[in-house]
């Protein structure tokens, strides 16, 4: 298996996630796009781990997965309180700071 196949798959997932973060209204959908980007990074870590035969990449992949779980918990709590305060889950309607 060529290494760059996995890297290209990771790059594609990352760019899809970046598009989602920029182009989505709902906070939940933005968090889903962030998950896509984190998974792209994990694919890269595991692919390099298999390429270099070093187990460190797998350890970092596990760290990324655990931190992503923590991030989703806090992120959804923030989306929830934004919804409670402004009655909308859409982040493009949050313009209280607009002058």
């Amino acid at each position: 298996m060529a290494l760059n196949l996995f890297l290209m798959l990771g790059a594609f997932l990352f760019c899809t996630g970046a598009y989602g973060v920029l182009a989505r209204k709902s906070g939940v959908l933005i968090l889903m796009s962030i998950e896509l980007m984190l998974n792209a990074v994990t694919i890269n870590l595991v692919a390099f781990s298999a390429f270099t035969h070093a187990v460190t990449g797998l350890v970092f992949a596990l760290f990324v997965i655990a931190i992503a779980a923590a991030e989703v918990g806090v992120g959804l709590a923030i989306v929830l309180i934004i919804y409670r305060n402004s009655r909308t889950p859409n982040f493009d309607q949050l313009d209280q700071l607009r002058g």
Partner: protein, 168 residues
């Protein structure tokens, strides 16, 4: 080797389609379910790379926990579930241009830096490196302190999420 390539391409095409659906569909629940397809594809790619422990952690944490959290988030924010409301904002075209430029840049860099000759050799020595016992030894010996810090981080995130979302 041929069988691995076939499996890789089937998974990669399915993941790409599902990932695009995640960021384009107007139905929020469908987006979460397409996300399950992408995450399961990632787990299958891990199995292809002989990282079975990471693959099952991916299944347990992501598909088992994160997606359920997303579904709870969708229900608690009363997101429109019928899919008749446009979920993309007005900067869609600019975002697509940015994402395509980024993909082109990363693609050129990856092809230049890692040409096709660099292969992941799936042989006995890779099996020895990626077996769960070796991973556990590294994880709990060389990375013990980061592991403990991760436990503290998860506790902090748990308490933080409860504190933020609490109603009073």
């Amino acid at each position: 080797m041929i069988a691995q390539h076939v499996v890789f391409w089937i998974l990669a095409v399915g993941m790409a389609i599902a990932a695009i659906k995640v960021v384009t569909t107007n139905n929020v629940v469908h987006a979460a379910l397409y996300l399950v397809a992408v995450l399961a594809g990632v787990a299958a790619q891990f199995l292809l790379l002989v990282a079975e422990f990471v693959a099952w952690v991916q299944v347990l944490i992501y598909i088992g926990t994160v997606v359920v959290l997303f579904l709870f988030g969708i229900m608690l924010t009363r997101a429109p579930m019928r899919g008749d409301e446009n979920q993309s904002n007005s900067q869609r075209i600019g975002s697509a241009v940015v994402a395509l430029l980024l993909l082109g840049l990363l693609g050129v860099l990856i092809v230049k830096a890692f040409p096709s000759g660099q292969e992941i050799v799936l042989d006995e020595s890779l099996l020895a490196y990626s077996e769960t016992g070796a991973l556990a030894t590294t994880f709990l010996r060389d990375y013990l302190i980061p592991f403990e810090v991760l436990g503290v981080l998860l506790t902090a995130a748990l308490i933080g999420a409860v504190t933020i979302a609490r109603r009073d």
